[in-house]
Amino acid sequence: MNNKLIINYTPGPTMMHKLTGFTKVFLFAVMSAAIISTFDIRLLVPLLIINVIEIVSMKPDYKPIVVMFAITFVTVTLVGNIMLFFVSPGVGLTNVGAEHVIWRISDKLYLSKEFLWYIFVFFIKRTASFASVIAFALATTPSEFASGLNKCGLNYKICTIVSLAYRTIPDIANDFINIRNSMMMRGVELSKKASVGKRLKNTVLILVPLIFTAFGKVGNIANAMDLRGYGKHKKRTWYAEHEKTRWDPVIRALTVLLLALTLYYIIRYRIIDPYPVDYWCPWVPREEIQQTNAIDTLFIIKWIKRLKGE
């Protein structure tokens, strides 16, 4: 309950905030594609820096961002990495192409330099992705999000779903809290005092009124929209898609450049002449890379092989 939601309903004062919805959605889409396309630290770090600059330029309230980063992000990654260490310590070999063991616990459990490199690069990739989401969420109001998506070619009915969802989130969050409180007063136990089975059962008692209250509004909202001509034409205009600022053409041009570079990178380095492994690593020269089949490391495959072998 302590996590605050990042929703920016009113446009902020900085250059990033003032861009049009289309520019922001376009930038975000290309940025996500660029981050997804590569595992190369030499490209991921610049991408991360661009997003951090964007965030800093908006002079946000850092507290919720830091809290989110610390709690939701680091714990998820940390738990994943610890799990990874126990399940597949050889991940360095498959993804980086070499193995320099620095700490051997047993035959199956060891720590290699490449394992650490792998989790480091992976962390940078996820962080870049996280930063791009935060930058987008901070800069874009839900209405700009919806109108920008429509400008990008998405059907306007889907875009209305996005903006209407944002419109109803605060109300539903309120209803949820009120309903939960009233159920607690009636004696419904939801904390760890009750067993997991009991808690699941008790959740039904909150969800049913919440569902009825939330979906009970469908008719009224739909009437209000129909009465004002929603769905009259195949297209619609958007109040939220305001006129371009000085910076819009600049950012759009840079986004197009980023898109071109991403496509070039994918075609040149991932299709025509792919690097033998996913992760470039400074101390593993290309000619020394050992290639392994990632599928072979799956424990299901290992089990099958072992069954066959024995």
């Binding site: 889907i158 969802a165 699941l200 996913d278």
Partner: protein
């Protein structure tokens, strides 16, 4: 089911009401994802957000359920600061399609046969989504180690199936009871 009904149960009827309902479903998904966890162990919780495709599916069909879960998942990630996880959002969308279909059929007639079909569709949908779709996307998008992804997928599927069956069935039962038309009520 006639052909028309099959179409309706899969695609739904996309009028303004459906649009609004899907939007509300997506919002509910966002709220439940961020507030509606049931604590199980420290740092682990079952998310009740998976009830959304069940409910939207029951009332409007499989595709609306999938869109509500897909859009809802993206919004939940954006507002909760989780970072976008397309691999899981698309997985959720696929699972929601199956779950929504099962719920729609169950809503038509709450029979033992349909309950079984619903449970089978939940297992099938989650298995397919998180056992095949998400791991492939994870490998392509993020290059994660697949063993870990599978472990997370198995946990995710099991907790989703648990919520969809243990919470979803009673909710569906009450929903079908409470929305059914009544006649012949007499005071006693």
């Amino acid at each position: 089911m006639s052909n028309k009904n099959v179409g309706k149960s899969l695609v739904g009827v996309w009028n303004t009401k459906t649009i609004v309902a899907v939007a509300i479903g997506a919002a509910l998904f966002g709220v439940l994802m961020n507030y509606g966890g049931i604590p199980v162990f420290t740092n682990t919780s079952l998310t009740t957000a998976m009830i959304v495709p069940v409910v939207v599916g029951a009332m409007y069909g499989a595709l609306p359920a999938a869109v509500a879960a897909g859009v809802g998942n993206v919004i939940a990630d954006l507002i909760g600061g989780w970072g976008l996880w397309f691999d899981w959002s698309i997985g959720n969308l696929c699972a929601a399609c199956f779950v929504g279909l099962g719920a729609y059929m169950l809503m038509n007639r709450f029979s033992t046969k349909n309950v079984v079909i619903y449970i089978v569709l939940c297992v099938l949908g989650n298995g397919l989504a998180f056992g095949v779709v998400t791991p492939i996307l994870t490998a392509v998008f993020y290059g994660s180690e697949l063993n870990v992804t599978f472990i997370q997928a198995i946990y995710g599927s099991l907790s989703n199936i648990l919520v969809e069956v243990v919470v979803g069935l009673p909710v569906l039962y009450l929903l079908s009871k409470r929305t059914a038309a009544r006649t012949n009520l007499e005071e006693e």
